[in-house]
Symmetry: C2
Subunit: 405 residues, 2 copies
Amino acid sequence: MRKIDLTSFIVATNDTVRSINRRIILDLIRTRQPVSRADLARLSGLQRSTISLITEQLLTEKWITQGALGHLPRGRKPRFLHLNVESTRIVGVNVRPTNTTIALANLNAQFIAHESFPTNADADVFIEDLTRRLQAFIKLYPDVYFEGIGVSMPGRVDSVSKKLVFAPNLGWGDVDLQTPLERATGLLVEIENAANACALAEIWFDRRSDGIQDLIAVTVSEGIGTGIISNGQLMRGARGVAGEFGHVSINETGPLCKCGNRGCWEVYASNTAAINDYVNVTSGAGSKRQNKQFECDKPSFDDILHLSEQGDAKAVETIERMGHYLGIGLAMLTSGMAPSMIVLIGEVTRAWKKIEPIIKNVLDTRLQKPALLTRIVPAEDNLQPRLRGSVALILQKHFGAPLTA
Amino acid sequence: MRKIDLTSFIVATNDTVRSINRRIILDLIRTRQPVSRADLARLSGLQRSTISLITEQLLTEKWITQGALGHLPRGRKPRFLHLNVESTRIVGVNVRPTNTTIALANLNAQFIAHESFPTNADADVFIEDLTRRLQAFIKLYPDVYFEGIGVSMPGRVDSVSKKLVFAPNLGWGDVDLQTPLERATGLLVEIENAANACALAEIWFDRRSDGIQDLIAVTVSEGIGTGIISNGQLMRGARGVAGEFGHVSINETGPLCKCGNRGCWEVYASNTAAINDYVNVTSGAGSKRQNKQFECDKPSFDDILHLSEQGDAKAVETIERMGHYLGIGLAMLTSGMAPSMIVLIGEVTRAWKKIEPIIKNVLDTRLQKPALLTRIVPAEDNLQPRLRGSVALILQKHFGAPLTA
DNA sequence: TAAAATTTGTTTGAGGTGCGAATTATATGT
DNA sequence: ACATATAATTCGCACCTCAAACAAATTTTA
């Protein structure tokens, strides 16, 4: 049950009914395809006559197509319906501190084309770069209809002003990306934080989230971000800045974080933390020795992963320590929000076999039994959750529950 | 935008439209009364003809009443409509470890009658006690219509099995309260965690939450509980166990909590923590002295509040320490979820003037500017937020947004 | 081979809902 | 008395889902 927001509600009209049922049918086709009209009637509880009308509408609007006939032991054979995944395209943009990717996706968030370019450190220059490249990108496909452009950003986006706020990894001020992009392309543009985008990607495109309405995505890279989905909706909080669990302190007197707080979770469990740990901290046997050779020439997180796979004791210790602190933070999320699933995203999932038992151990010793209903799973990093999330941003406009009341 | 849960969705029919608009109108009357039909048309954007039909329905169902005529400089005078707060009653039940209260409320969550009795330590005996008392209580009012019974509990309630889970302060196992109460009274019964109930009370009955859809209630008593409202909805998580931020560790190597974890927030910032602190820890000048006289005869938290009001140095120090640790936890909630408002509930709010600057200071030094959009306010303890929350549990069935899609 | 049975999908009329224009009701000012 | 203004209702229309009847397609059975 939701409280009606009397400062911004939406009354129902006759087409509200159709809008609701249409989206249910469309989503049923998306996930259950191939599926017949009779199946849809059984799955939805709507009358077959209603299904006929709705599917007719969806067919004329090219959202779905008719396929082959099905086989049944008796009676008239059903005509299968399919989601018309190629009828329209969505542009996904993934902005990261060093690189930005533009990709063309179908409705299944499968990518047809990619392109990458360095992210300019200056916000204004970057915006000019991006708009030019997007315009050129779109021109390459004169015959396709674009549903919109989804952008995932390493920062929080104010849901009111649409401006970027709190993006320490970019160092940009209050930047408005949406307006210039919409103006330049004439398309719907949605900007969202990367962790939020990943959470959307998981709930919209990952079969493991079937039947789940409460989910947290944890992105582990330079820092740690969290995207929270509660009751099937993104938790944005006041002005869209919810989800900074990476900057929650797990040690009041810990080292200073660049956010100004002390002992933030990401100071202990991010890739950056692991690199610092590998360089500075005691290794193997117990002797505290400084690694002068690494001090100026730090290894990358990939290096550490590689070394640990090869059995390097110090790298193994670093990964184990990282696993431990990931567990500490995940215990916080589990206690506090008890999602049905937490999805971990980042290079560290390549070491899942190593860190899973460590995380599990931390949670087992720190949590009550009921909290252990939360499944913790890794995301496949090569599926590009950030990009798929930016596709989900646009997709949900058509496949999500409409706003009512 | 919400993802449709394809395992349990609700299709729309024609009366879905009426249900949505009816609830909007009903809630507008509730909050804006006295209000005319023409006002409602302007406020809602619905046609005056539609408003007439809906209000007629609400009048015949006695949800609203017609009042006096309004005054206008020109034209026909409007007929004011009012919420019929006395037409129906809601029973609120507040179960606490030592005492249980039953109360009769009108639709404004104002209480007409109270009764209290000791909470039996044995769950089965308690249930028998409560059902008997509820039956007798209801019999006292043979002429009133009861909308239902809302129960707030010091524990988490599994939203699937409806059973109590995780109630360390009661020490009961998997108890099902709902079924026996519904059977005994024939009324709708809703059970909810106390912190969740408080959050509902704040969002439904506190004018400070007008226009707010993201709010956290923090109950500080023997332990610390949190009730989280995101997008106007209670965050229940998997099986209803979300909200145990009181058992999130703020110090990995801190003292053992009775939940099994170490250094939980409530080990530092609950009333119990303050009592232990007052008894055990160093006072004023710096000399560490044991208070033998208190060891067997601990003061109550009320005693400490009283002493600190009178200027007792040790009590003041205890309250200040408590304020500091409350701030630490509130910083976690603010970073992580960025609600528009956090409401603090508990005896400690009586010392609000003392602790507010301490809390504010902790947040200022630990949080980024955007997170500081969160207002932190105390709830009036004498308004009985737990009981009002149990009323809200039933109220929202009629005044909340209906489930669609 | 023809009729019965079964299942899919469409057509049709009834009932509900909001919209918008017209109408009725009630007030003030000139 | 009349114009003007505002409130509230009435009425025809368009849209929606429902339920039952109907049409289409296929297998089983006599």
